[in-house]
């Protein structure tokens, strides 16, 4: 498993659009992708799960990827969050 901690920088946090975008970005990978926030792991392939985490601007999340293409998945996911989740 690989993981990395990133900071959510877009002003509105992980609201619906960034969540959908994040979800759509990681879904094609066969690895399991999870977002750990506040001690809870959320399945990043479920928009609802992601949104239910209530990740606000400035929050630090840990993205965990586990599977055959974990490195690539993590790279994409981190890039996305760092670029401001499309906001």
């Amino acid at each position: 498993m690989v993981s990395q901690v990133v900071k959510v920088t877009n002003e509105q946090g992980m609201h619906m659009r960034p969540a959908s975008l994040f979800c759509q970005t990681v879904t094609p990978f066969s690895s399991d992708v999870k977002v750990v926030f506040n001690g809870t792991a959320y399945d990043a392939k479920s928009v609802m799960m992601l949104m239910s985490a209530c990740i606000k601007c400035g929050a630090e999340i840990e993205i965990q990827c586990d599977g055959p293409d974990e490195a690539e998945a993590l790279k994409k996911a981190v890039e996305l969050v760092e670029s401001g989740l499309g906001d």
Binding site: G13, M48, C54
Partner: protein, 639 residues
């Protein structure tokens, strides 16, 4: 925040007749208008549609959550419609949507929008819940389903939060501090950290060393900690631990018994510390013995005094080094202008020695109000004021300053107790008028009374020491050297060292010889051990052998504590060996009449040692003797 705070009965429309996306959105916006959440329905619709353009808000499972953040929104609100037959809302999963929530959020920076969304999602993840909503017959039923689900979720979260408050991984914080702040502070911290790691416990230890505090604990870390371990031989700032479970102990305990301390701390069997408003760690609330408290007060004074003695002592020694003895032997040290300069600067620093000692003993006892009173008491001990001759007559010196420090501390505490009876209105003038005025007045009387007595005692001791023949000086050297090696930084070592400081304060030949014997006695143990790890390899474990060379440096720097790990591992054999080595060194230093004007510094003050060549010889012979004894007494380590 509750969903039902935002979703009103009037904001719900069941079995909505809408047939496509736009009409569903219109219906939801109409509801918002009806409830009164909007300023401008048309502008809000634009915001909603603009959002839909960027990507559908249908999140699958038949649910869509169109939302908009806009200035057209007056108050944050939620509306809902159900379309049991379902319409195409361009859902991610391609299925028709039948349950719609619309979030309207005002255009502010608040995270309301995100919180509502998060809350809603948490509920909607349960598919049976969504199904119940769609099947609801009335708006009341719809709301009740949400309410019930929300209550259930809240219960789950709080149930989850409760055990989370007591994490399985225990968190501890600690503080270590010792009077010199060189060795014990860090050894205690290391012992705690290593043991905690071994036990899988999270610990952060603040080291209040001589160069300031390292790894200072933050308020948050203290807050999060399950318990606090304070392993200090001097007073530290305890106010920050108020209300926390605190174990107060010594650095010695932390070095030798870290496991016990950590277990005790993690078992939760620790009493809560209540700060008494004093910096003092040794307030009556703690059950420390009187002797230990006195030791701690004394060491608070000594540790504050040391820098003055070291700086001043070395500068004075340099003055003697640079001076020309032949010009005027009676004025040696100030004959040349350069020497005189060094001597007067050093002398000024030296002059603070006794006031600082007494002041900080008193501060340790009575907190800040004690400082001024003790300081003045120490200064009076130094001038030697008496009733007959207030300007100074018989200095009671080091002993007098000790008395002054303790007298001042307890005097101020006593005044504090008496002043408790004063009306509240006088509270403010206690520290600015009553304590300083009465305290200094009384300490003045006390010092004038005891100066003649202690002064005479002082003179007697000095005369006794000076009258000693070489033979008795050698005996004294053996005794002091051996004391330095007995407990390496413990009370006996400190007693010998304090005696050295006191002799140094007398500023005479005998005093300097005593100091020299003490320092060499303190330098021998680590060096003897370092030598032994080289010459008697089979008597030490590989780990001990590896740390041997470091002891050379420790010894040369006069950090006796370096020998502690070895002594602790095999005290019955190591300590006597080291006592022999240090005793020999002390005796030789005395026999060679080596002198030292600085109380610390090890090899770095050798340039100012009198008869330095023979001093080195004393150090070498002492170390070799100690090494030899170690080889003789220690048993071979079996592989």
């Amino acid at each position: 925040m509750k969903i039902t705070d935002l979703l009103k009965k009037e904001g719900i429309l069941l079995n909505c007749p809408a047939t496509d996306r736009e009409s569903a959105i219109d219906a939801l916006i109409d509801l918002h208008s009806k409830v009164g959440n909007l300023n401008d329905a048309a502008a809000f619709k634009e915001a909603i549609l603009a959002r839909e353009e960027k990507g559908s808000t249908a999140i699958g499972m038949g649910i869509a959550v169109p939302h908009g953040k806009s200035a057209a929104v007056k108050t944050a609100g939620l509306t809902a419609i159900t379309i049991p037959s379902g319409i195409d809302y361009k859902s991610l999963d391609g299925n028709p949507s039948n349950l719609f929530f619309m979030i309207a959020a005002p255009d502010t920076a608040a995270d309301t929008h995100l919180e509502v969304l998060s809350k809603l999602m948490t509920l909607l993840m349960d598919q049976s819940f969504a199904k119940k909503l769609v099947e609801a017959k009335t708006a009341d039923e719809f709301l009740k389903v949400i309410d019930d689900k929300e209550a259930e979720k809240d219960k789950e979260t709080s149930a989850k939060a409760a055990p989370a408050a007591k994490p399985s991984v225990k968190k501890l914080v600690g503080v270590t501090a010792c009077p010199t702040g060189i060795a014990h502070t860090f050894m205690a911290a290391e012992a705690l950290e290593l043991k905690a790691k071994e036990l899988g416990i999270d610990i952060k230890v603040e080291k209040d060393g001589s160069a300031g505090a390292k790894d200072v604990l933050t308020a948050k870390e203290i807050e999060e900690a399950d318990a606090v371990i304070v392993a200090c031989d001097k007073n530290i700032d305890m106010g920050r631990f108020n209300g926390k479970p605190v174990i107060i102990t010594s650095t010695k305990e932390a070095i030798h018994n870290p496991e016990n301390l950590i277990k005790k701390a993690t078992d939760g069997d620790v009493s809560i510390y209540h700060h008494s408003g004093k910096i003092s760690a040794s307030s009556e609330a703690t059950n420390e013995s009187a002797g230990r408290q006195a030791y701690k007060h004394l060491m608070n004074g000594v540790s504050h005094m040391l820098p003055f003695v070291i700086g001043g002592g070395i500068l004075i020694a340099i003055a003697f080094l640079l001076d020309d003895f032949s010009i005027d032997p009676s004025n040696f040290g100030s004959n040349t202008p350069v020497a005189a300069w060094f001597k007067s600067i050093g002398g000024t620093a030296f002059g603070f020695m006794l006031p600082i000692l007494a002041g900080f003993i008193a501060q340790s006892i009575a907190d800040r109000p004690g400082l001024a009173v003790g300081f003045v008491g120490g200064a009076l001990a130094s001038t030697g004021a008496t009733f007959v001759s207030p300007g100074g007559d018989v200095p009671s010196a080091f002993l007098g300053a000790l008395v002054a420090g303790f007298a001042a501390g307890y005097l101020v505490r006593f005044m504090e107790r008496i002043c408790e009876k004063l009306p509240q209105a006088l509270e403010g003038i206690k520290p600015v008028l009553i304590y300083p005025l009465c305290g200094i007045f009384i300490i003045g009387i006390v010092m004038c009374a005891i100066n003649p007595i202690v002064g005479a005692l002082n003179a007697w001791i000095t005369a006794l020491l000076e009258g000693m023949g070489t033979g008795s000086m050698v005996v004294l050297g053996i005794l002091l050297g051996a004391m330095m090696a007995t407990d390496m930084g413990g009370p006996l070592n400190k007693a010998a060292y304090a005696f050295g400081l006191a002799s140094l304060a007398n500023q005479n030949e005998t005093g300097h010889m005593i100091m020299a014997a003490i320092m060499v006695g303190g330098m021998v143990p680590p060096i003897a051990i370092a030598l032994a790890t080289i010459f008697f390899k089979n008597k030490f474990t590989p780990a001990e052998r590896k740390s041997g060379p470091v002891n050379f440096i420790m010894g040369l720097c006069f950090i006796t504590e370096g020998a502690i790990p070895f002594a602790a591992a095999d005290p019955i054999r190591v300590i006597p060996s080291l006592m022999v080595g240090s005793g020999v060194a002390g005796a030789l230093s005395m026999a060679f009449k080596c002198t030292l004007r600085a109380p610390h510094g090890g090899i770095f003050v050798f340039p100012v040692v009198g008869n330095v060549a023979m001093y080195l010889v004393a150090l070498l012979i002492g170390s070799v003797a100690g090494c030899f004894m170690l080889g003789l007494l220690k048993k071979n380590i079996e592989d």
